[in-house]
Symmetry: C2
Subunit: 138 residues, 2 copies
């Protein structure tokens, strides 16, 4: 059973077939689906689910902090259910493969006060880009 689903249920989320399906589709590690991919997989399980519902549901999961929105390429947003553990992303510039990574240290400490322009910084997003082993050997 889906961890994600459990967590959502525990928050008094009204449970519907559509929401269940979206949560099931998203469950797992190194999952970074676009909204359209989520929709495609959801349709396989529940043919009448609409695109708008998928967008709404993903948006709510993000608001609840149970799913993270990631923009690794400049096209569609991707949704990452691994919201517990802070992590960053490593992206293959050729095939677009994405891995979750856990750098050591805190990038926040790398930004001196003089470079903060009076901002209160709450979050840092890091994206590493390169070539994955598969594309490198091709």
């Amino acid at each position: 059973m889906s961890d994600l689903l459990e967590r959502l249920r525990g928050r008094g989320w009204r449970m519907t077939a559509q929401r269940r399906v979206v949560a099931e589709v998203l469950d797992g590690d190194h999952i970074h689906l676009t909204a359209d991919e989520v929709h495609a997989r959801a349709v396989a399980k529940l043919p009448e689910i609409s695109r708008a519902t998928v967008y709404n549901t993903l948006g709510e999961m993000v608001s609840l902090g149970e799913v993270i929105e990631v923009s690794t390429d400049r096209r569609a947003k991707r949704y990452d259910p691994n919201a517990h553990r802070p992590h960053q992303h490593l992206v293959c510039a050729q095939c677009g493969a994405i891995r979750d990574v856990h750098p050591v240290g805190d990038p926040l400490t790398d930004l001196p006060d003089s470079e903060r322009f009076g901002f209160t910084i709450s979050d840092v997003e890091v994206t590493y880009r390169g070539t994955c082993p598969h594309c490198a050997s091709a």
Copy 2:
């Protein structure tokens, strides 16, 4: 006279009124305009310039390495003429204001081999998010 324009001229770029206007619009520090904003400002100087030309011209500047493409929000790409000096971005989550910042240290060294999954990493992109002084006092 525009620095950017000088550099482009020096590369044997065929100079046209449209390209000149786009380069002029982009010149400066902490400039991070969307393609549409560039178009709007370009139209003010040269009413008959088309959207496609603005997109083409920006794309060429990016290919030439004279302008950097930035995706700080999840909407339109932004164009940053400060391509000389490596830098990262600091974004206000409320008003969207963007500043160029220069963190100390190299985020690449923070990623242990065990977290590289065999990738050859070529680039790191860091986005700091927070609240700017103006929004904080509102």
